[in-house]
Subunit: 186 residues, 4 copies
Amino acid sequence: MTTAILDAAEAEVAERGLAEASMASIAARAGVAVGTLYNYFPDRDGVIDELFRVRRGAISPRIREILDATSGGFEARLEQFLCGLLGLFDEHQAFVRVVMEASGGDGLRGARGPRPVMTQLKAGLETLLKAGVDEGVIAAADVDLLGRLLAASIRGVVLHALEVGQPFATDAPRIVRILLDGARRR
Amino acid sequence: MTTAILDAAEAEVAERGLAEASMASIAARAGVAVGTLYNYFPDRDGVIDELFRVRRGAISPRIREILDATSGGFEARLEQFLCGLLGLFDEHQAFVRVVMEASGGDGLRGARGPRPVMTQLKAGLETLLKAGVDEGVIAAADVDLLGRLLAASIRGVVLHALEVGQPFATDAPRIVRILLDGARRR
Amino acid sequence: MTTAILDAAEAEVAERGLAEASMASIAARAGVAVGTLYNYFPDRDGVIDELFRVRRGAISPRIREILDATSGGFEARLEQFLCGLLGLFDEHQAFVRVVMEASGGDGLRGARGPRPVMTQLKAGLETLLKAGVDEGVIAAADVDLLGRLLAASIRGVVLHALEVGQPFATDAPRIVRILLDGARRR
Amino acid sequence: MTTAILDAAEAEVAERGLAEASMASIAARAGVAVGTLYNYFPDRDGVIDELFRVRRGAISPRIREILDATSGGFEARLEQFLCGLLGLFDEHQAFVRVVMEASGGDGLRGARGPRPVMTQLKAGLETLLKAGVDEGVIAAADVDLLGRLLAASIRGVVLHALEVGQPFATDAPRIVRILLDGARRR
DNA sequence: CATGAATGAGCTTTCATTCAT
DNA sequence: AATGAATGAAAGCTCATTCAT
């Protein structure tokens, strides 16, 4: 039942936005009465928080796995990481929508919850980029900016894919190529 | 008066978020009575929409000017454009905050308003990138993705600058360099 | 089972008050499920009403016994009655708390239940006072007021004892003395 | 408006009881919308608390005046005090009902508000009774119990008068006579 | 026009009650 | 019988909106 409720909440938030997802609409979508929600969660925040907690719980270890599974040189690993990441997001489209909804001005105000995933993602990127520095592929001075560009690019690609209804993962290799070698023709 | 109200709305949304910006708080900040808001706007959405419309009205021609003012080769123009753009955003920090707040899942739902700016920005980028293709600097096949990466990068850089409290414009040249020539050391 | 439920209800009302005694808390205290309450009582009011009915059923005959057991002259009997009554209340502290809780404006509204006890108590007092009239100890004209003063005094003494945590019965002789002979020194 | 709302709250509580007095019923009785209540009071407790505060504010100084206005010997003053008090309560019948409703198990749990009036009343009685001790009319040892009997008697008389719909003040002299000289015929 | 008190729909939350197991 | 999850009416509270002044 908790699962059904969280799924309903997720769909509701993805479709209508965090502020518009009322307990009544979540209950209706879950096919239960309002009161039932309160048999499983203390209050509205409890539902939303748990939604983020559970989804994070499903995604977080996968990100680590994807990172750990990368092998080869820096460039190959980065590409594998991005590819795996976007593939993972493909599997959690609904939640990705929620995160996009919720992550307007993160950090500018009380960010509700997707933060840890983004943080972990950035941490993974940083790990890889440092390996790239060690291999002499990229300059240490570029790590920070490059990390941010990569994170932003992932967001941009995901959002675009969401809008046009495509899967996410296809662009990963090209992103890596452009960010490493540039778009300039030679 | 409309201006005062929109300024108040902007400040309120930037500070508290779209959902928390009540008509009462906007009126209080503007130093008028709630009723007065309704003498100038049909309803709450009217205020928010007009806020976006007006700011867009101020920003749009500037974007075009910035684009038109670029000169030189493709790379130089791209850098000038980004630089000018980020400088422009620096002048509209409050509104940029509002946009960040509001631009969670644009297009996934009824996009409130920043869309056109982003669209125009993308259009400007596309114009430039096409010039790049004509000059033979970049491949036509990369235009679309590169445009999205640039747009996403701008968002990432702006958000980061907002969080750490820095001006936006400083990173523009490095972004252009990375996206054109790659971060790979040679 | 009914007994266990009523005991739980009594304890709950005594501790938290009538309004705060929920079916859930009563069930929990009785160690049964909520549904079980409804196998023995039609609804919440049914529980409360039955609580009063049962306790009255236990107290009523005792009051009669106490009255019947009184012997001697009017004054002695009155003192015995009061003493016995307060002693009886001592044995039913929890219920007395419930009655105090419930007996705000009895009769001003739908009196929940303690009424009959008070009525019987007043009836007993009246019987005694009439005996006093017959013996020529008190005037017939004073019976009514004296009855009310005695009843009120009992309430006041019980409430005070409950607040300071003392047994009830100790003050009975002094009350009788004051009401019969007055507090005036001679 | 505050007055109208408090009057409505008072009537509602007097008629239906504290727990049953909903904001909706208070609003309806006051002839305003629910929201209006919240323009004048922070929440439901705010209404109830203010009701008690205001009525206490009207009654408290009067009690003091009544006490200060008493003159003559102890007995005369006590009678004047009781008489004045009951007369005062006659003027505030509605609030007296509220107090009766609210003062079930005072002190046994969080007593909402009439407490101070009762406390002041008891303090007034104590002052008088001490004067009685000084005059040698009553014994110091009886002050405490006599005070409680008087307070309880007042409550009993008021409650009875409320139920039968009589004015309160008529019984005062007889109460004083009984408590001082006893009901015993001589 | 400006005002701000009044409004009431709508939201969150509670809890007596039901009923399939 | 006992259970306790599900129910939904009802309560408290908020806030966009209206309108008499």
